[in-house]
Every structure is written in structure tokens, then in C-alpha cells.
């Protein structure tokens, strides 16, 4: 469904390298993309996969690759290049159990930090996290839209349990957001490849091979794309890379809230664990226990406004996620000041609704 969503978003280029549990996306794209006037091919490693995608993006094509933790580790250099050169590209990161080769066929939500904090300088990488097949279809379209609109790499972070579970999908209920295209240059005036007036603006795109000369570089540069050292213009461009994301953070925020005004307890989850969490909330409510629930689909930038809204009247916050150290909980912590913050964590298998219910009941006692 992720591949189907990418096609619906207008993806025209895919390069992949086999890795469980992301190989199905690769296979579907190889099979389907030519019929959608696109090109999909096999790369000799993950570094090449993403470089090919960025190369295609330089020509103006919407491009995607799919991988898992070990492949993502190899791609980080090129993710940073795409960020610095402001080239849109989407990476479907289907998590598996780490570290290292880890467990290829075991699910996990252990790559939250790896996905987000992978750039030198700590610039925000937008990360969308689907919990099921239908959300894969929807969120990858948002990922393409934001990648094209902000000219930046975007990650769709799922895991083995979301990516490799066959499930019934209601085709009529699938969400198809309007498709966004990269904004191109207008007129034939002088062109600066990284031009902006206000730092949050996104430079107009001109394709390599087009009529306007394009200068692209992954090194620190000014708005003309010229390498400069210690120039204030360079610092301006670097600030702009973060500002353009920050300025759209609230617009990018996607959440599925199920709040109860009487609840003092808020359960937060994302990805596959959000499914167990939603079931746990239904069980608790059946028993007459008020609890609020927030499924976060846009992990980064953190949907702060929605979070603040959901926190009203809440004393205790639970964050349920399938990793050892509470990666997203740690990221949310600065935004949860004054609340009691508890984690529901596990590795090796899915967190069950029963375990979440148990944790929430235990904390009330």
C-alpha cells in the first residue's frame, strides 16, 4: 500500500536494494512504475539507491527508495546531501529489530532517533509514521507533498509489522490528499538556485538539463550556490534550511486524537503500537475508566500545538512504543513539563493491548 500511495503521489523514479522487511515496496515499484510512466531499477547498494534518487530529483522527478535500519545507516550521507542541496526525496524506512543486522523479520520501533537525528547540525527531517496499510497509502502522499513543497528529504517510518502484514483495506475509505508539485521558476530573469527573501521561503526549482543554468552543491554555499567560507550569506542559508521546516511545523502536524475531557491520563503512541493502544483505550473505557489517547502520525516536526491542547487537564502521560529506552518519550519530554511521564516499552514482540491496560491501571493504583 505504501508503493500504491507513492504512485498516487506521482512518484516517477525508484531505486532500491533488497532488505527485509522493505523488499516488497521495491518489488511492487519495479513491477508497477513503468506502467505509471516512471522508472524503477535495482541499485548495487543503498548508497547508490539514494544517490540515483537524488540524481533523478535533480532532473525534477519525484523519487523514492525503501529500506530498513541497516540500509538507512548507509544512506545518511546522501540524506544530508539532499537536505543541503534542497532536493526532494522520500525514503520509506521499514524498521526491524536492531542493532546491526538485528532481527530481519522482527518488528521494532527502534529507529526513531536514527531517522531524525542523522544529520550533522541536527536539522529537522520530517518523519511520518503510519500504523496500518491504509495509513501507509495516505502518509506517503503527505511525505511526497511536503518533500516537494519544502524541497527536503522526508521519511515514512513504518516497521515490519506494518509493512509485512497482509490486511483488508477498504478501498473506498482510502485518503487521497491533493497532490503538490515542486514550485518551479517563473520568468526568465536572473536565477539563483537557493534564492529566498525570508529564511522560511523555499527556493524555486530549476531542473538540471533545463534552460536555466543550475549550480548545486552539498558544501556550505550562498544563495547563488557558490562555495563560501565564513560568509554571513552561508549562515543565512543554513538557518533557512531549518526555518523553512519550522515555519510549516503545525501545518505538517497529523494526529488522530481520541480525547476524553474527564481524563487525567493521556496515552500517546504511534506506528504499530498505536493499534494496540487504541484497543487498550476501548477496553479501559468499557470498564468506565476515562483515558485520553493521541496517535501521532507526524513524529517530526513534533506537533506541539496539538500536544499542548491534548495535555489540558492531564496529570500523567504514557508513551507506548516498541523500543527499549523510550526514544520518542525522550524527545517529547521537554514538552511535557509538569506532568508525570511514564513509558510502556518492550522489544522483541508487539506490545499488546493487555500490557497497556495493565500499565495504565497500575499507575492509577
Amino acid at each position: 500500500m505504501l508503493a500504491e500511495g507513492a504512485l498516487a503521489a506521482g512518484c516517477r523514479f525508484f531505486a532500491g536494494y533488497p532488505i527485509t522487511p522493505a523488499s516488497e515496496i521495491y518489488e511492487v515499484m519495479i513491477r508497477e512504475l513503468p506502467a505509471h510512466n516512471g522508472l524503477a531499477l535495482s541499485a548495487p547498494d543503498e548508497i547508490s539507491s539514494l544517490c540515483y534518487c537524488v540524481g533523478a530529483s535533480l532532473r525534477g522527478l519525484k523519487a523514492m527508495t525503501a529500506t530498513s535500519g541497516p540500509g538507512w545507516a548507509l544512506m545518511i550521507e546522501t540524506v544530508q546531501y539532499a537536505m543541503m542541496t534542497e532536493m526532494p526525496v522520500v525514503i520509506a524506512l521499514v524498521q526491524r529489530l536492531g542493532p546491526s543486522t538485528g532481527g530481519a523479520t522482527q518488528g521494532a520501533q527502534g529507529d526513531i532517533w536514527l531517522a531524525e537525528f542523522s544529520t550533522s547540525g541536527g536539522y529537522t527531517v520530517p518523519v511520518f509514521s503510519p500504523c496500518n496499510a491504509a495509513e501507509c497509502y495516505e502518509l506517503v502522499q503527505h511525505a511526497f507533498n511536503w518533500s516537494e513543497r519544502l524541497r527536503t528529504p522526508v521519511v515514512v517510518l513504518s516497521d515490519k509489522e506494518v509493512g509485512m502484514t497482509t490486511e483488508v483495506v477498504d478501498a473506498a475509505a482510502l485518503v487521497r490528499p491533493p497532490i503538490v508539485e515542486r514550485s518551479g521558476i517563473t520568468g526568465r530573469g536572473p536565477f539563483a538556485p537557493y534564492a529566498f527573501e525570508k529564511p522560511e521561503e523555499v527556493p524555486a526549482f530549476a531542473a538540471v538539463g533545463g534552460d536555466v543554468k543550475v549550480t548545486v552543491t552539498g558544501s556550505a554555499h550562498d544563495q547563488q550556490g557558490r562555495l563560501r567560507k565564513n560568509a554571513p550569506e552561508v549562515i543565512e542559508v543554513l538557518l533557512h534550511l531549518q526555518r523553512k521546516i519550522d515555519a510549516h511545523a503545525e501545518e505538517m502536524a497529523l494526529v488522530r486524537p481520541a480525547l476524553d475531557p474527564d481524563a487525567h491520563c493521556l496515552l500517546i503512541s504511534y506506528g504499530v503500537t498505536a493499534r494496540a493502544a487504541r484497543q487498550a483505550v476501548a477496553m479501559l473505557r468499557r470498564d468506565g475508566l476515562p483515558v485520553s489517547f493521541l496517535q501521532i502520525q507526524t513524529l517530526f516536526p513534533i506537533p506541539r500545538r496539538t500536544l499542548d491542547w491534548a495535555l489540558a487537564g492531564v496529570e500523567t502521560v504514557f508513551v507506548a512504543e516498541e523500543n527499549l529506552t523510550g526514544q520518542y518519550r525522550a524527545v517529547l519530554a521537554p514538552h511535557l513539563k509538569g506532568k508525570r511521564v511514564l513509558g510502556i516499552n518492550k522489544i522483541g514482540s508487539l506490545i499488546s493491548p493487555g500490557e497497556i491496560v495493565h500499565a495504565l491501571r497500575g499507575a492509577r493504583a
Binding site: N37, G55, T215, R275, Q279
Partner: protein, 452 residues
């Protein structure tokens, strides 16, 4: 407009050290582009990290992409791969890369050669890393002193041309930067419709000539000792290009995928009011997971939501094969199973895995276990029905026969679901599956199950 065709102005101030071969290469490249008369916007210089990466600003009219170390070839390949999608008239990516970049990005060169994408690579081989302080590379000659081989290099240098010839490169040449006809070789390379690489031999005056007894004139002796081929190498000039192969591939491919026949919804609806969890276990190659998949399609026809998760050892074709299925009248949230209501095991390997992964330990008194009669072992809890599935239906049909036997007695899905599910199969698979289902139903109706 003439100015635009002067790729490099004759009085351009070049940023290289005195005597560096890079200056010669950019001048020859400029002459080659002028000779070919290519419109500047049809050329993209893709530069690598190192002193070669200083060339971008020298060419004010062509597109320039300054990349990461060693990856310049891969980015250029990506740009070239976009050609058939864009139906472009032909972009000419020219990669400027050093010997260090060729080393770290060797696989990118190999794959570009294999694909035969229309890019030209100019490898500036000065036998060491210049910009970072004269460290040795995979191309440093034997006994050369560098910052990292202070006693002389003892690893034999790579022969890039020989290596890329085995990757089916279309155009390969090796020249000295001092060759007066270098521009004609570069022009031939750019003009070549496919992967072309020119290795340009030159000296780094900052480190190469400082630490080694070598001059422009004596470099040839070093090269001869290495038995490097000089000039254009006999390569696979006649190979079809990526573009030609891709067009051929597209033409020979069916226009669109064959549509999977839809599973017709049944008027009669399924019975279970709550979620039901089922585990099917057997051996690899015995159609365990495809039987579960067919069952899910049948359940879908009866209006149920289903999820299916498969498991097998890392080797796909041996050992156990497992499928976990959830059925529910509502959309399914949690796809794990704390305790399955039904377990079907059709082989000893499958049974062992159920023991190993804790499924059997989680069986309760009300769990129904449908086991092949030949299977040894009994669960700690649960009701057991045994059918001679493997013997009567064959091992490859045992899983589906077991599911059919269970449904015959369970009445949770309306009659006709199997027919609805079978519409998703065609030909022999359909006949075969129908036979498995028939045998399973017969076994259940015969009442021959041994209850233990």
C-alpha cells in the same frame, strides 16, 4: 551567444597548484566541449570531493553539481537514468573525480559501466589524496612515499581500466594530462553513447613530486612498470545503451499488470461476533501461507476483516512455515495474538516451531487444535482433532484441507465462501486448491477425526 560556447575562458584564473595536471584537464575538457558544439545547458559537470571539485566555478554556462566524496558517478547516473522518463533529448553528464573518489566510489563506476548509462567519467589520477595532505590511495604506485606510506607503498595499485572492462564498460581510455591530444579523447568519450571513462594520469606537485623522485617525463616509467594500458582500450563499444535496453524492456513488457480477479462478496455473512485468531503451521514449500491467504480471501467474501502474518526461517525454502490470521467483523487493530482460538498443524516441523515460539504454551482449554494424524505430540491444553491430512490430501494440500475440515464443522463462515475465495486463483492452482478443499470437507463429514 558565442561567449556561452567558450566553456572556460582562456584567461580564467585556475585555482590549482603550479604544475598540477588538473589545470590541463579542465582546459582539454573545455576544448572538447567546444569541439562537440554542445549547447552548454545540455551538459552537467558533476564534481567529486577533492581538488577536482574546484572546477564547478570555472564553467559558468554549463550546469554544475558538486557532490559528496566518491558519489559523483552515482548522482550523474541518477541524472542520466531520468532521461527516458523525461523523454529528454539527451543530457551529457561529465563526472570529474579523483583517484580517491574512484576508490571509495568504485562500485558506482562498476554499476554505471554495467548499466551503460550515457555518462562520461574523467578520473584525475594523481596517485594520492591531494587536498587532505597527500595520503595514499588504491592507485598509489608501489614504493611511493605518501603521508600514510612513509616507508613506501607496498599494496599493488588497482588497474581501473582492466577492472571496468570486466564490468562491460563501453569506452575506456587512459592518457597523460600532458598529452596534447587529450581533448580529442575526451570529446570521443563524451560523444560516445554510453558509459565512457578516461583515466588521466597526472602528478600532484604538492605531494607526489615532493616526496618521490618523479617528474612529468619519468612518470611514464612508473606507468610502464605497472603495465598500465595507455590509449583507448578495446572495450565493448557495440553494447546497447541503457536507454536502448530500457526501451526494449518496456516494449516487451505487458502494458499493465493482469488484474487479480475480485473476490465476489457473499450475501450470507460470517458468524463470529468477536475476533478470532488462527495459527497455521507446517513446512516450507507445502503451501501453508498460500492456504492461509486463500482462507483470508474467503473470509473477506463473507464480510470479515482479516490480517495475515507469515513467518519462516531466514532460508525461505526449508524448515517451518507459519501463518497467523486474525478474523473480525470490525477493523482489526492489534494484530498479535495472546492466545489463538484455533491451531492447525500439518507437519512435525510446524509443530516444533509452535512449541519453540510459545504458541502451544499459550493454548487454553477451549483452544481447538487440528493436527495431522501422523504428527507426534500433544498440547498442554486444548481440544484436539486429528485428520489424516497429509496422507489423504498430500503434504502440499494438507494445510488447505485442514482449514476446510475445520470450517466444515465450525459453521463460522457461510457456505460458498470457498468458491468465492477460489475465484482469486486460476488454472491448475485453482483445480488443485478445490481438490484440497473437497478432501478436507470429506474428512470432516466422514467423522473420522480422532478426538483426544
Amino acid at each position: 551567444m558565442m561567449a556561452e560556447y567558450s566553456y572556460l575562458s582562456p584567461d580564467a584564473k585556475l585555482p590549482y597548484c603550479r604544475g598540477c595536471g588538473h589545470a590541463l584537464v579542465v582546459r582539454h575538457l573545455s576544448r572538447a566541449l567546444e569541439h562537440l558544439g554542445l549547447p552548454p545547458r545540455s551538459v552537467v559537470l558533476t564534481t567529486d570531493i577533492g581538488c577536482v571539485g574546484l572546477a564547478d566555478s570555472l564553467f559558468p554556462y554549463v550546469h554544475t553539481v558538486h557532490t559528496t566524496h566518491g558519489r559523483s558517478t552515482a548522482f550523474a547516473t541518477g541524472m542520466a537514468l531520468a532521461e527516458p522518463v523525461l523523454k529528454s533529448k539527451g543530457l551529457k553528464p561529465v563526472v570529474l573525480i579523483g583517484d580517491g573518489g574512484a576508490m571509495i566510489g568504485l562500485l558506482h563506476l562498476v554499476h554505471a559501466a554495467q548499466l551503460n548509462v550515457d555518462i562520461t567519467v574523467l578520473v584525475h589520477n594523481n596517485f594520492l589524496f591531494g587536498m587532505t595532505g597527500g595520503q595514499h590511495s588504491a592507485f598509489t604506485p608501489l614504493n611511493w612515499v605518501t603521508a600514510t606510506t612513509p616507508d613506501g607503498n607496498w599494496t599493488p595499485p588497482l588497474d581501473l581500466l582492466a577492472l571496468l572492462r570486466t564490468a562491460h564498460a563501453g569506452f575506456l581510455a587512459r592518457q597523460y594530462a600532458t598529452d596534447t591530444d587529450l581533448h580529442t579523447v575526451i570529446a570521443d568519450a563524451i560523444d560516445f553513447p554510453g558509459f565512457a571513462l578516461v583515466e588521466v594520469l597526472e602528478l600532484c606537485t604538492a605531494y607526489g613530486t615532493r616526496w618521490n623522485q618523479v617528474t612529468g617525463n619519468s612518470l611514464a616509467e612508473v606507468i610502464n612498470r605497472q603495465r598500465y594500458w595507455i590509449g583507448q582500450m578495446e572495450a565493448e563499444l557495440e553494447r546497447p545503451t541503457f536507454l536502448q535496453l530500457y526501451r526494449h524492456e518496456l516494449e516487451s513488457r505487458p502494458r499493465s499488470k493482469p488484474e487479480e480477479p475480485e473476490v465476489p462478496p457473499l450475501a450470507a455473512k460470517a458468524q463470529p461476533a468477536e475476533e478470532l485468531h488462527l495459527v497455521v503451521a507446517g513446512s516450507a514449500g507445502e503451501r501453508v501461507q498460500s492456504a492461509a491467504s486463500l482462507f483470508c480471501r474467503a473470509a473477506l467474501a463473507a464480510g470479515l476483516y482479516t490480517t495475515q502474518k507469515n513467518d519462516n526461517p531466514v532460508t525461505q525454502g526449508t524448515g517451518f512455515s507459519l501463518a497467523e490470521v486474525c478474523l473480525s467483523p470490525q477493523p482489526i487493530e492489534y494484530t498479535g495474538m495472546e492466545s489463538p482460538e484455533v491451531v492447525l498443524a500439518v507437519s512435525q516441523e510446524g509443530w516444533k516451531e509452535l512449541e519453540a515460539n510459545g504458541t502451544l504454551a499459550r493454548c487454553r482449554a477451549e483452544t481447538l487444535l487440528i493436527l495431522d494424524s501422523e504428527l507426534e505430540g500433544s498440547p498442554p491444553a486444548g481440544r484436539v482433532l486429528r485428520f489424516p491430512l497429509r496422507r489423504e490430501a498430500t503434504p502440499k494440500r494438507a494445510a488447505l484441507a485442514g482449514l476446510a475440515a475445520w470450517l466444515t464443522g465450525a459453521f463460522i463462515l457461510p457456505s460458498g465462501v470457498w468458491d468465492a475465495g477460489l475465484t482469486s486463483l486460476s488454472g491448475d492452482r485453482r483445480t488443485d486448491a478445490a481438490e484440497a478443499i473437497r478432501i478436507g470437507q470429506q474428512l470432516a463429514e466422514r467423522g473420522g477425526a480422532r478426538v483426544s
